[in-house]
């Protein structure tokens, strides 16, 4: 209802998109891990202006994460190895979900784990929670190698997706890693397993060496590269995946402006996530949402959905 009003105000522009039956007031969401559960950024961003808030990954128990330094700047981007520090699903359900429920936006909970049982425990625990979707992180590069292999192996991805779908009460988004030879193979596997949507890309595994100190810039040695520098890779992968599957795609990877977001939408994404840009522009999400509206007016686009995959 509110969405219709919002659309009316802006001269018949309709920014709504639909993912697995969940209607978002606009296609702009936050990328997991860059926005906490919204609380810290609520000082800068009116959360109800967002299509959805995607939370930082949550596991079945608290995770302490990696040693510091956990972050390094790279040319036109950054590299992180936070290691999915999180309070565990119990605290998350008691504290973070009620917090987000105050706002008229959709809640997408990112789920992480070391093993299928851990993912399944979180998914099961979320069954009766008032969340709109869950995003399964099978692609974080900052935990042990065995874990990453999960999202890199098509058979594993299909199997895990199917296991999750069997018990999930909310639509399931599988978040894909770009650290593979052919991302469409993994995307098809997730779709075959029953994924309702796909999100991509997670960060690209990288390394930075501090030459003065002759050491790794990150305590974890490797980290996930993100930010504007990775955007062309992400756009290419969204385009490839959009042509390989029929489920909706949430595109991300270096989005900082409306033009960036529109690249992903034109390449085939139904929605987009703003991540690293939040760190250097806390109001980036809102600027992207407003910029998409401006673009629609300038190009006389009535429904944002007309733009999805419009460049072929």
């Amino acid at each position: 209802m509110e969405m219709r009003q919002a659309a009316d105000e802006k001269q018949t522009i309709d920014t709504r998109v639909c993912i697995a039956g969940v209607e978002l007031k606009n296609p702009v969401m936050t990328a997991s891990g860059t926005f906490g559960s919204g609380q810290e950024y609520s000082e800068f961003v009116d959360l109800k202006r967002l299509g959805a808030v995607v939370t930082k990954g949550v596991a079945n128990v608290p995770w302490a994460g990696n040693p510091t330094p956990r972050i390094a700047e790279t040319y036109g981007g950054m590299m992180n190895a936070i290691g999915l520090q999180n309070p565990g699903i119990d605290v998350f359900c008691e504290r973070d979900i009620p917090y987000l429920q105050q706002f008229d936006t959709k809640i997408i909970v990112n789920v992480c784990g070391h093993a299928p049982e851990e993912y399944l425990a979180v998914v099961e625990r979320l069954a009766d929670e008032p969340i709109d979707m869950m995003e399964i992180n099978i692609s974080c590069p900052n935990v042990n190698a065995g874990f990453l292999a999960f999202g890199q192996d098509a058979k594993n991805v299909e199997k895990l997706t199917a296991q999750i779908k069997k018990i999930a009460k909310q639509p399931v988004i599988m978040k894909l890693t770009p650290n593979v030879t052919d991302i469409t193979e993994i995307a098809r596997a997730a779709e075959a397993g029953g994924a309702d949507a796909l999100s991509l890309i997670n960060t690209l595994t990288g390394m930075k060496i501090d030459v003065e100190r002759q050491t790794f810039a990150l305590a974890n040695k490797t980290g996930g590269v993100s930010g504007p520098a990775v955007k062309p890779i992400a756009v290419r992968m969204v385009y490839q995946v959009a042509n390989a599957v029929s489920v909706p795609i949430i595109g991300m990877g270096g989005i900082a402006t409306a033009a960036d977001a529109l690249e992903f939408i034109l390449a085939g994404a139904t929605a987009v996530s703003v991540g690293t840009a939040n760190f250097y522009n806390p109001t980036a999400t809102i600027e992207v949402a407003e910029g998409i509206e401006d673009y629609m007016r300038r190009h006389n686009v009535k429904r944002v959905t007309e733009l999805i995959g419009a460049v072929r």
């Binding site: 906490g36 800068f44 608290p62 992180n80 999180n86 309070p87 565990g88 806390p282």
Partner: protein, 260 residues
């Protein structure tokens, strides 16, 4: 609670205090009016290849004119801080702040206090020295040449330590405290980890309340990304592990709260 701002500030003046150490006054819209000693701001370059904010501690706060002073070290060629050092009066810069908790002033009221700064941890002690109502012994450690000493002298009794012995006590801040046979009921400190570690140990051996300002690589600066954590003794309120966020839970911690 909601008092952080992202603003376009204007450079009022820029001065090189020593090779590699710069002092910049900024005119803000609201941030200076909201800031307290021990807080910091995130400073952004205009260079798209250097996206992350540089967290810089506040050296002075002038509420009447809405001005802030930052004294910072240029960390090398082709760095963000190098770009800041090239800015001139009238230039604009994006800043986010005030960030972090700041030094608790009430805890030190009327007490015999140490304000200890080391290296680029010296600058935040100046605004603290100006605002703290205490018997202030300012112990500042430098590698060789000193900066801000005139300003410190106006705000307490200054004791200097230099690594090369060119001024004050030869050695570090703890050497200066021992050489001058100083004592305190409360300590405020900012500086490199080895210095903070020594101060923490001294404070705990002598049962002195001690606040330390910590440093860590940051991204968001507001407590969301969990990059800048330090090890805490107790379970933290955010993630329920033992990781306090330097940017939000700190940067100032009781020495007994954190592992250094």
């Amino acid at each position: 609670m909601s008092c952080k701002r992202k603003e376009t500030a204007m450079v009022v003046s820029q001065e090189c205090l020593l090779p590699g150490i710069y002092s910049m006054w900024l005119e803000t819209k609201e941030i200076a009016g909201l800031a307290v000693p021990g807080q910091f701001i995130s400073m952004y370059t205009k260079d798209g290849s250097k996206l992350l904010p540089r967290p810089i501690s506040l050296c002075e706060i002038e509420k009447e004119t809405n001005r802030l002073r930052v004294v910072y070290r240029v960390t090398g060629e082709n760095t963000g801080t190098k770009q800041f050092s090239e800015m001139k009066a009238g230039d604009t810069i994006e800043i986010l702040g005030p960030l972090g908790n700041g030094f608790p002033l009430e805890a030190g009221r009327g007490k015999k206090a140490f304000l200890i700064g080391g290296g680029i941890g010296v600058p935040p002690m100046l605004e603290l020295a100006k605002q703290l109502d205490a018997q202030k012994q300012l112990v500042m450690g430098y590698r060789d040449e000193q900066f801000l000493t005139d300003e410190f002298t106006k705000n307490g009794t200054l004791y200097v330590a230099t690594e090369d012995g060119s001024a004050g006590t030869k050695g570090n801040v703890m050497d200066a405290i021992r050489e001058n046979a100083l004592g305190a009921e409360i300590i405020y400190a900012c500086g490199p980890s080895p210095m903070l570690r020594a101060i923490k140990q001294y404070a705990e051996e002598n049962n002195i309340v001690c606040y330390v300002s910590m440093e860590e690589r940051m991204a968001c600066g507001i407590g969301a990304c969990l990059a800048c954590v330090c090890q805490s003794k107790e379970v933290d309120g955010h993630s329920h592990v033992h990781n306090k966020r330097v940017c939000k839970d700190g940067p100032v911690f009781l020495s007994t709260e954190v592992e250094i």
